[in-house]
Amino acid sequence: MKKIILVGKPNCGKSLLFNQLTGLRQKVANFPGVTVELKSGQFKQFEVVDFPGTYSLQTLSRDEEIAISKLHESLLDDDTALMVCVLDATRLERSLVFGLQVQQLAKKHNKAVVFVLNMIDEVQRYGLKIDTDGLQQALGSPVFALSAKALVGLAEFQQALPELADNPQQHIPDISEETTQLNVLQQAKTLGQTYGINVDVMLKKQNRIDNFLLNNVFGGLAFLFIMFFLFQSVFTWANPLMDGVEALVGELAAVVTSFTGEGIVTDFLNDAIFGGVGAFITFVPQIMVLTLIIGLLEDSGYLARAALICHKPLSYFGLSGRSFIPYLSGHACAIPAIMAARTIESPRKRLITMMTIPLMSCSARLPVYALLIAVLIPEDHTVLGIFNLQGVTFFGLYLFGILMALVVSIVMKHALPQQDDKSDMPFILELPTYRLPHWKPLSQRVLNSGKQFIKRAAPVIFVVSVVIWFLGYFPQGGGLQNSWLGTIGHVIEPVFAPLGLDWRYGVAILMSFAAREVFVGALGTMLGIDGADENIGGLAAQIQADGLALGAGIGLLLFYVVALQCVATVAVLRAETGKSRIAWGLFALYGVLAYFIAMTTYQIIG
């Protein structure tokens, strides 16, 4: 298939344009360095490729390195029909630096180039105009002014694209030999001055917001408030939704089992399906609320500011301000977060960041947290009269993960070999314009997070629940303790006894190495078999009735904060660090650490 590749400076809207062309849902957000990997999609008969953003052909960070090496590959690839250079119309000069570099390179390799002047809606909003024809003349390549967000000029571009890609020979940059010798910086400057807009109005507005959010005193407070709000709302906003889903699952169970009557089938449906898988589905709203809030932050432009605020404090721990962004997204899932660390220019800081991301409480832990908090913490208590104690505990668990990450970072900082000042890349970060979050990619992302959560974990939970149910239900009549599962369970019991947990928890913990959420399903299934009355509503109530010591419960929570129970994360760590020693070493380290923390907690609280 013929290829159309999308390149350009970071944050100029390549991925949003890619999504509009292909109908796919690449991550779009308002900070430089969102895309860190190539992504392909289809537009008509062409393959479209979205590239990570780069300031220059000369690379500083890993994501840029990937983009540039792939760019060179594409230039040599006969299938590459067209290179689309995306420019940010509000930052013409800066976008053109890389744009012109690409254009010259394309000329050398006889490749066709078109320029897309994106964000034209923002130019128009300030009542300004860009002389597209003049720019086209000056550049010697076609220019399309459009907005991938407001959809201005997009249809025209889509219409023209097939013709351009089908006749690449006619669109090889029309620039003379002398121009290619000219200094790109000088050329970009001249073009920027001639055709660019005066950005003072835009920057003034941005600066006004920054006066507030980056204020020396108030900025720090605002930062802390936003973080607290983020974690608190995962709890408060999602709760009513979760209750709703739980009630639905209960209703469904009642209806379905009324048809199956008494017996093995009903037992199976109640314990394994509704008790196991159903208990897990309840947590989908939490994942969606979390994604919504992280998405709002990412698309507003605040994250680059947060990185700036955090840079100095984080540097004491051997991290960079840029570490903040992967840390934050690590609260949704560690895997994309570890990849996002590619944007950290300093290799050493990048390594420390990647190694500590697994300590961020990802969404797979949410079901475990929510369940155990409901068991251990009374619902109606408040702290300082306003904050719900359950919510505060939630926040505390997040905080515990972050603190552990900082502790591990500072140890690494001293343990890893020092680098000299020169090879350690400094912190330079562009602050993007503030923007209202774009509802379309955001709502897609929120829905998708729920769907992915179910798709990824539900099959595993289903299988585990079914297996546990069979092993726990037979031989019939003897109860869970005397079942096959019970026999196996008693063998592993001594390992978990120091944590104050009986073998059922042991089995659930071991099973959750397949996926953390399995804990809830596995425990739900076992208690379902165990429970005398088949009352589906509320696994938490069942655990309370069954009895779980406070110390053991808190220890268990902390165990889940620290333990690296995720094979996929280990695999990504191995791929990104290039060393399986590091990946499996962390797996063992965090496992042992989690065990000792849980044990100590149980011994102290009891």
């Binding site: 690379t59 700036l308 912190f427």
Partner: protein, 74 residues
Amino acid sequence: MTLWDIKVKQIAQIHSLSSMLSSAVSQRLDEMGFNPGQNVICLRRSPLKGPVVVQIGDSVYSLEQNVANKIQLA
């Protein structure tokens, strides 16, 4: 005077980039617009010697101390 010594709202002109910078960083700064003769405006300073925020041309950047103090101002 270097870019690290600039005060809030002060406007200055870039003089040169120190040879202490690695060539990769130096080239990047050049491409970001830190060219001799170019005007910079300091938008803000952060507490505890955190990064300085400057506007140069059409963009706003934050730079930490060990790079800002290697950019000489005229």
